[in-house]
Symmetry: C2
Subunit: 143 residues, 2 copies
DNA sequence: ATAATAAAGGATGTTTTTGTCCTTTATAGG
DNA sequence: CCTATAAAGGACAAAAACATCCTTTATTAT
């Protein structure tokens, strides 16, 4: 479904959002330890997300990654789009290039419905929403 | 979502089902031409599906792939499971190994709902169902 | 029997994704 | 200013996915 990069990216940004809500920045080592992801690989992903203004970062002592005020409303779909693009939401389920309403593949409509509900779910879920359950210990980012 | 192998596999088996309904077998060259897929790669996929009894084949002149009587009721999910396994239906959306009802990831329930609706769609759709629209020229397997 | 046909199977090559390592740049604190 | 820290960035390595090629086996028709 999502690429590994995207899975790590989502888990990392949720963790960052949580730390951010507590007014703290999160370093890459800490992040990867908490979400059980490979450090260097995840660092690349966060670099990209930072360049794309999904998350913010500062270098140096006490530096790290965080969500700035304007980014508190970031939704999961923003993270997914930044990492995997939107082929998941626009591409044909059977991989047919020119699949469309007028020239549909055999599962066009059924697939579209599922894809849309996935998209809607990602659109309505913000990182900050998810931190609440995380902080209550109701959900987990590793194991 | 699905692997390339799975996309080709589904398109090929739908085409085979259609030819089969007309009492014909389909050769690999013909199949790949009609679905716009790479020949040798698709041949491997069909070999696997044949070994797994999803489709049948005969060698030699007038040979080819077909659905035998007992396989006319094959559902899309059988093809997907044979090629991609069932990680799409059982795995965690965020790639967390031990994600479960008791130790859920942050999107566990939302993701499960979507996954289930995908699974149900694939379970209720048979290859033979899809051939009807194909034969009417309402849906397409390439371009 | 023999030749032609078409799938089966094995080996190999390419590309993409995933993952690691090392150097450079920016920042904070002494 | 100098040093330590932590992200940024580039180069490289491993694994998986995607794809091709060539030989073998089974079947049909002559």
């Amino acid at each position: 479904m999502f690429s590994k990069a995207c899975e790590y990216g989502i888990r990392a940004t949720i963790y960052i959002a949580s730390r951010s809500r507590q007014g703290e920045r999160a370093g890459i080592k800490d992040i990867c330890k908490e979400i059980g992801a490979p450090e260097h690989f995840t660092a690349k992903i966060l670099q990209n997300l930072s360049r794309m203004k999904i998350i913010s970062s500062v270098k140096g002592p006490n530096g790290g990654f965080y969500l700035d005020e304007g980014a508190k409303n970031i939704k999961l779909i923003d993270v997914v789009r930044a990492i995997d693009g939107d082929k998941l939401f626009t591409g044909c389920g059977l991989g047919i290039k020119e699949c469309s309403e007028t020239k549909p593949c055999p599962i066009h409509n059924e697939f579209k419905a599922i894809r849309n509900s996935l998209q809607q779910m990602l659109e309505r879920t913000s990182l900050t929403d998810l931190t609440k359950d995380l902080e209550k210990g109701l959900v987990f980012l590793k194991r």
